[in-house]
């Protein structure tokens, strides 16, 4: 039986399960002429296959690559949110003496962000160079371009930022409208820079020590970045509660939305990176 329903039921299973047992299940349905009940049973058992995947089907390198790609994207978004935070608070001198925790939160944020970026950069560099060398050697132009996006996108963004500041900047700096445009462009640049290596990971499918190092470093980097996220939450909440006079453009709703985004990005980053690190450190 090769009904679309049987195929649809099989499509509910994890890819590794389908790759291992898919043909056999279809052969069984062919032989037994399984009807709707067999298809329904097949669909029903897809759920536990996701929640408790059989251990022998674990593809650790694939797990590490997928986690790295997700963590890189969410880390970039979190970094972007952190830079917006720094621009709107710390760089505006919003550090009231009545709330010393704000100054402390700024310091923790700065140190955490720098440390996290350093760890991610150092841990990911060997893997990036390895993939770049392979893409270059095999003349894979598209993969080379993907891998160069983390360099090209920030440079292009900074160039655009300088030009915009010169053309649109007045005596008191950029207007709020232009600031919004620059912020959105920054997030687009960060997403572009992050998606490139993610696509290259999927296409080149690297394995080995460089991948394990990158996945381990991502876990440490994400843990440090979570500290930065906590610092953001403390600073923004403190500013809203005890220093409203310093933050005229702040309001509770915007702060709430912003903090929700920070917490979401930090959670995705931490969970994804932890899964990759777990796969990297697991015994073969």
């Amino acid at each position: 039986m090769r009904s679309p329903l049987a195929r649809a039921a099989l499509a509910l299973y994890p890819p590794s399960w389908r790759a291992r047992y898919g043909d056999e299940v279809l052969a069984l349905l062919d032989d037994s002429g399984g009807g709707p009940a067999a298809v329904a049973s097949l669909a029903w058992h897809a759920l536990p296959a996701w929640f408790c995947p059989p251990r022998h089907l674990h593809d650790r390198p694939a797990r590490m690559r997928a986690s790295l790609a997700t963590a890189l994207m969410s880390w970039s978004m979190l970094t972007g949110l952190g830079l917006v935070f720094a621009q709107l608070t710390q760089l505006q001198g919003l550090a009231p003496a009545a709330a010393p925790q704000i100054r402390w939160a700024y310091a923790v944020f700065d140190i955490s962000l720098a440390t996290s970026a350093l760890i991610a950069g150092l841990g990911g560099l060997p893997l990036w160079l390895l993939m770049l060398r392979r893409a270059w050697r095999d003349q894979r132009t598209r993969d080379t371009a993907y891998l160069l996006l983390p360099v090209i996108a920030p440079v292009a963004y900074l160039a655009g930022l300088i030009v915009t500041a010169r053309l649109a900047g007045g005596a008191s700096g950029l207007s709020q409208g232009w600031f919004g445009v620059i912020t959105l462009a920054g997030f687009a640049a960060a997403a572009t820079a992050a998606v490139g290596p993610g696509l290259a990971l999927r296409r080149l499918q690297p394995r080995g020590p460089a991948l394990r190092l990158a996945a381990t470093a991502a876990g440490v980097s994400a843990g440090v970045m979570a500290v930065a996220a906590v610092a953001i939450v403390i600073a923004v909440t403190s500013l809203d509660l005890w220093a409203r006079q310093f933050a005229g453009y702040h309001d509770g709703t915007l702060s709430g939305i912003y903090l929700a985004l920070v917490v979401a990005a930090a959670t995705v980053t931490t969970v994804s990176a932890a899964r990759g690190t777990r796969a990297a450190l697991a015994h073969p």
Partner: protein, 111 residues
């Protein structure tokens, strides 16, 4: 006794039925489901059967054999045979006690 072997305790537990089916010779999925239905009177759906096969394979109780066909046969491993023997022994004791007590109380001689 580990968790899986513990779960094999129920006589109609699908993993136990699959192990029993593979005890004499390797079989592929359809042959297992046919054998279980004919000899043990239990129908295993495709979803149940392959969930069990995946679990038993992960625990090293059965192993796949090479096949050019889509119908890949499986055979029971030594660990699987030991688990099946342990459970069979326990089930035999339960059956023996049950038969003896039923015989004493009801005069039932069994089939």
């Amino acid at each position: 006794m580990d968790g899986v072997t513990e779960r094999l305790d129920r006589w109609a537990d699908p993993p136990l039925l699959v192990l029993a089916s593979l005890a004499d010779e390797p079989k592929h999925g359809y042959a297992i489901s046919q054998d279980v239905a004919e000899t043990m009177g239990v129908r295993l759906s495709a979803g149940t059967l392959y969930a069990v096969i995946a679990r038993l394979e992960a625990r090293g109780l059965i192993e796949p054999l090479e096949s050019d066909d889509r119908r890949r046969p499986y055979r029971i491993t030594m660990a699987g045979a030991e688990a099946l023997a342990q459970q069979s022994e326990r089930m035999s004791k339960v059956a023996s006690v049950a038969r003896e007590r039923l015989s004493t109380r009801l005069g039932w001689a069994g089939a």
